[in-house]
Symmetry: C2
Subunit: 359 residues, 2 copies
Amino acid sequence: MSATLRVELGDRSYDIHIGTGLVGRPALFEKHVHGRTAAIVTNDTVAPLFAARLEGTLAAAGARTLRIVLPDGEARKTWQTLDLVFEQLLRAQADRGTVLVALGGGVVGDITGFAAATYQRGIAHLQIPTTLLAQVDSSVGGKTAINHPLGKNMIGAFHQPGMVVADMDTLATLPAREYAAGLAEVVKYGAIHDIEFLAWIEDNADRLLRHDTAALEHAVRRSCEIKALIVAQDERESGARALLNFGHTFGHAIESAAGYGKILHGEAVATGMALAAKFSARAGRIRDAEAARLIVLLERLKLPVTPPRFPVDVWLEYMGRDKKNEGGRITLILLDALGKGAVVKNAPARELESFLSEA
Amino acid sequence: MSATLRVELGDRSYDIHIGTGLVGRPALFEKHVHGRTAAIVTNDTVAPLFAARLEGTLAAAGARTLRIVLPDGEARKTWQTLDLVFEQLLRAQADRGTVLVALGGGVVGDITGFAAATYQRGIAHLQIPTTLLAQVDSSVGGKTAINHPLGKNMIGAFHQPGMVVADMDTLATLPAREYAAGLAEVVKYGAIHDIEFLAWIEDNADRLLRHDTAALEHAVRRSCEIKALIVAQDERESGARALLNFGHTFGHAIESAAGYGKILHGEAVATGMALAAKFSARAGRIRDAEAARLIVLLERLKLPVTPPRFPVDVWLEYMGRDKKNEGGRITLILLDALGKGAVVKNAPARELESFLSEA
C-alpha cells in the first residue's frame, strides 16, 4: 500500500511516496538513478539496518552505488561532518551527474541536502527519512543546513530533493522517545492548519502510540500534505512558511539552553507549542480551554509540556537569535484558533517577558 | 561617465554599472542597502585603499556598515576563511535582511557570494570587483565557490548578486601582472563570441596596456555584455555557458600542477587558450593562421602562451577533474572559427594525449 503526493514548485516540483516496502522497490528509483552514481549518505546507526537493502534496490535500478557513513547525532551536524561527504565524493571522482541519497533522520537529511546544494555548485539528491520527525517535517520542503558553533542551522540552503520516500518499515526500529518526538510535529500540522486532523489525532492517539501502520501512514500523509501546501505557497520562507515554526521559537530556546542533543527537537517543539498556546490564550487570541486541549493531547502522546527552568534574559537572548526575526524584533507563531496559526512579527516584549518569568 | 548593462535572469535579473567614480556614488547603492546592515567583505590589501570610501558611501545611502577583512590570496579561498565571515556575521547578530558587499578580486567575490548563498540559507549581496579579472569574469554570473584541498572551486553555489559595480578607479593600483591576467579573459570573449571585438582588442592593445580609461571601459563593457548574454541563456551551466571555459580545462591543469597561486588564473587561461587554439587547428576546426593570430595577441598583451613541462598523465588527471566533465570523459571548449567557440563533449583521448606530449 502506498500513496503519492506532489509538492508543486514549478520546475523544482517533486513527489513524496508514503507507504510500506518502498525501500525495496527499484521502479521508484529508476528515473532518478539509472546510469548514474548514487551515493548513499547515512549514519552508523541506520547503515546496518537498511543500507544493504537500499544498495540492492539502487543497483537493480541501474545505479553504481557508493556508501558514505557519518557519525550519528545532532552534535555532528557540523562542517566537519559535511566535509566527510565532500571528501569521499571527490576521492571517488563523483561528477555533477551523481545523485546523493539521504538515508537517515533529520541530521543525515540536512547534511546530505546541503552537500547536494553545494557539491560542484549543486547536484541532485533524494530523501529517504527513517525517523517519524524527518518523514513529516525535515525531508520535505528543501531546507538544508548545518549548525555553526554560534547558532543552530545558521549555514544552509534551500535545495529541493528530486523525491522523498517515506517508508513506514523504517520506523519499526525507532526508539519510543524519538517516535513520540515525531508525533509532536504531526500535532503541529493540526494545530496550525486543520482542526479536523487534530481531532483525528485525538481519536487515534492510542493507535499511533502502538505504531499501527495504517494510522501512521495517514498521519504522515496528512502532515506531508499540509507541509507541501504551505511550502508551495512560500518556498523561501518570506511569509506563510513561518507558520511551520509554531512552537519552534520557544523550542529553539529550550534546545539551546539545555545544550544540543539533551532534549530531542520534537520534545522541545512540544513544550514550545504548549507555551505558544498558553501565550495565545493570555493574549486573548484563543480560549484557555483550547490551549488546554492541545496540551492534554501532547501529554497523551507522552510529550513534555513544561520547560526546564532558566532565567528570562536567557530565554529572550535565545529567542532573539531566531532566523525569522527582523531588525532585532522577535517573530512568534501564535494561534488565532485551534487549527489556525498566525505569524506575529514584533511580538510584544513586555508581555512575553512577564509570561516567561511565570513559565 | 558610466554605462549600465542588464543581466536578464527573470526575478534574479540585475544591473552591472561600469564607469569611474562609482564607489563614491550613494544613489547607486540606496535601493540595495537603505535601512539595512551592509557588511563589507574585503581583504587586507584592498581594505586600506577603498574600504573607508565605500563605508562613507553606504552610510550616506542609509546603511549601518560592518567591515569584515579577510587574508588576501587564492590559497585562502577555503572553508576556514569563509567561516571568518560567518563568525563575524553571527557575532554581530546579522539577520536575513543583511546585505554583503564584496570589495575585492575574484577570491573575495567568490567567498562573499558563497557566504551570501548559505548564511541563514541565503541573503543578498553586491559585487564591487577591484581587479580586471573579477570585473570581466567572476563578479558576473552568480558562480560562487571555495576551494577544497582535493579540488579547486569544488564547493559552491549559483547565487546571483543584486548588482555589480565595476569602477575603473579601483584598477589604478592593480599590479601589472594581475592587469595582464585580466586581459586574458577579455581576449577570451572575442575568441569565443565576437571576432569584431577581437579585432578591436588588437587595434587597441597599446591603449589597454597603458590603462587608457576609455579603452578599458569599453573592454569591460563588451566583455560583460557577452558574459551576460551567455549566462542569460544558461544560468546553471548545462549548455552554452560552458563556452566561457575556453582555455580553462588546460588552464586548470596548469594551475593545479604548478600549485595554487604560483601562476595567476588569467595567465593559466592565456596559456590554456593558446593550447585550445592549437588543438582546434590540429583537429582541423580552424586554420593554423587563426590559432597563430590569437597567440600573437596574447603575447602582445604580455601573457604566457607556453605551458610548464609536466607529464601527460598529470595533464590528463587534472583535466579529468574538471566539473564540466561527464562520466569520466573530458569536455573541451574548442574553436570552430576565431569568434566562434564550440563545446566538445567526449574529447578524443588519443589525439589529446599525443598533442599534450608534444606541448
